[in-house]
């Protein structure tokens, strides 16, 4: 009788705990954690990778750039995904981390489709997001209040946007959303809404605007005519080795860069005509190898 109860109570728990502690898995996996903007890209690449290398698996998790950087710093994962340079984030010691720029992503302002505004200047944008312009009328649109939708603080997209548009101005306290999907849905359904998002997320439910007359296209990003863009980083703790190294090489390979990265709306790093440093210094790249 006692045995029966022992089995019922203790066994499942004990088994599970044992499983958790001393479990040797067959097959191999690495974990990449971080930026939710980068997550779909890495996931897609990981899928392709596993198809070609059965039994080797890339575990991709979101959680935000902050999570990615802090986890890679403590070494609990193999790869930390980030929309930001590690050194931009407080609390991160960037010196031990190795940066792999795997893609470039452009960020564009988006507005509700019902607003007939086609072009904004950087200054106008900055004034909208700092709360100095509050009505579309001031921008040649209809008499409609501007509903500003911002991204969560610390998000990479917001950081990029503020860095290249706001240029030091502080943002007005407004609605903030954690995720691009939510932002898109809100902009699509809320009259007078304006926000910004990475190129891959733009679809027909929202409308992009030109900034200073430049249309938000990949081509304009590659020449830095469209300035609001950033690198997508995958950090490793020290130089990668083993599976991590192979996966990093794989994701930077031409086939993935052309097939997956470009298809999803990111811009392959190799297509860039310029490179931009952490401080914002732009250097043209000579593409003759």
């Amino acid at each position: 009788m006692k045995k029966k109860w022992f089995t019922l109570f203790v066994l499942p728990i004990a088994t599970l705990l044992l499983a958790g502690c001393s479990f040797k898995q067959t097959g191999q996996s690495i974990t990449a954690v971080g930026s939710s903007a980068l997550q779909p890209l890495v996931e897609a690449a990981g899928d392709e990778f596993t198809k070609e290398n059965p039994g080797e698996f890339i575990n991709v998790q979101g959680g935000g750039s902050g999570t990615g950087l802090s986890q890679i710093q403590t070494g609990s994962v193999e790869i930390g995904n980030s929309d930001l340079y590690a050194s931009q984030k407080s609390g991160i010691d960037a010196s031990k981390l190795v940066d792999h720029k795997v893609a470039v992503v452009g960020v564009t302002p988006v507005i509700n489709r019902k607003i007939p505004v086609k072009n904004l200047t950087t200054t106008q944008l900055a004034k909208i997001f700092s709360g100095d312009i509050t009505n579309w009328q001031q921008l040649g649109g209809p008499d409609q209040e501007i509903v500003v939708i911002n991204r969560a603080q610390g998000s990479g997209t917001r950081d990029t946007f503020e860095r290249w548009v706001m240029k030091g101005r502080s943002a007005v306290q407004a609605q903030e959303q954690d995720s691009t999907g939510m932002v898109r849905q809100i902009v699509a359904t809320t009259p007078g809404a304006i926000s910004y998002m990475a190129f891959p997320y733009v679809d027909k439910t929202v409308k992009t605007v030109n900034v200073d007359g430049i249309t938000p296209t990949a081509k304009h990003v590659t020449t830095n005519q469209w300035q609001i863009w950033s690198y997508e980083h995958m950090y490793t703790n020290g130089q990668p080795s083993g599976l991590t190294a192979r996966f990093m090489a794989y994701i930077l390979s031409d086939s993935i860069q052309d097939k997956v990265v470009a298809k999803m709306g990111y811009i392959p790093v190799k297509d860039m005509q310029v490179s931009r440093s952490l401080q914002g210094k732009v250097v043209e790249i000579n593409h003759e190898k």
């Binding site: 898995q25 067959t26 974990t31 939710s36 779909p40 039994g55 998790q61 959680g63 999907g181």
Partner: protein
Amino acid sequence: MNPRKWDKVATTVLYMISVFIIAVLAFLLLYILISGLPHVTWHFITGRSSSFAAGGGIGIQLFNSLYLLILSMLISIPLSLGAGIYLSEYAPKNWLTDLIRNMIEILSSLPSVVVGLFGFLVFSINMKLGFSILSGALALTVFNLPLLTRKVEDSLQSVHYTQREAGYALGLSRWETVIHVVVPSALPGILTGMILGAGRVFGEAAALIYTAGQSSPPLDFTNWNPTYIASPLNPLRSAETLAVHIWKINSEGIIPDASAVSAGASAILILFVLLFNFAARYFGNKLYRHLTGARERG
């Protein structure tokens, strides 16, 4: 207005409130099912999800939800049963017991985000389980334990005291009486509680985002060896559940058919919750009839 008229008015109002509540539920269910079911196909239910292209399914997520549910119930049922029995039968009436009850109640009103973050901190990081089914199951256990314990305790308490006395008077220990007399009598209530708890676990997302993770390896449904990395049974792999998937595609929305997928997934989720409810009702009643001997009479 005289009392009788008031009585009529009040009764009407009460009827209206009841109808309203039923209408709210009917609306919710219909809304979800109508907007979701058209997207549900066999391919959708069993297919792989896609990370950026349209036409992904929810097969793996559904499997993950069920597997995670089973694992967490495997941990939480014995624990809650034991704890419920302790509280109902053994706990002396003193401040310590009150404190324990208090703690359990606080645990039950704990926001699931906090549970999720705690799970992330303790199971994923400190215990080095990472983003895995196991840490998800443990977090769900934390989330589910207080309610199950309470349900077990309540069910045991609702078994009449005379039943216990009958056992004691026959020289049986409290433990034997509880296990062989009280628990069987309370089983319908316990079972109902467990199944309803399962429904709650099934739909929980916030506690899982940081513990079980937001993606799954491409599972190899031909290899059931739990130690293989892509095996469906591997408890250390990460596992995105159905509820998390809904949350994720709603917030990421990079796949073009995000709204269709989330509507379809919601419909499936609701169907399962309905299933759990009806199962709870059916098995609870059946067990009750079985125990009270109505079967023999009928």
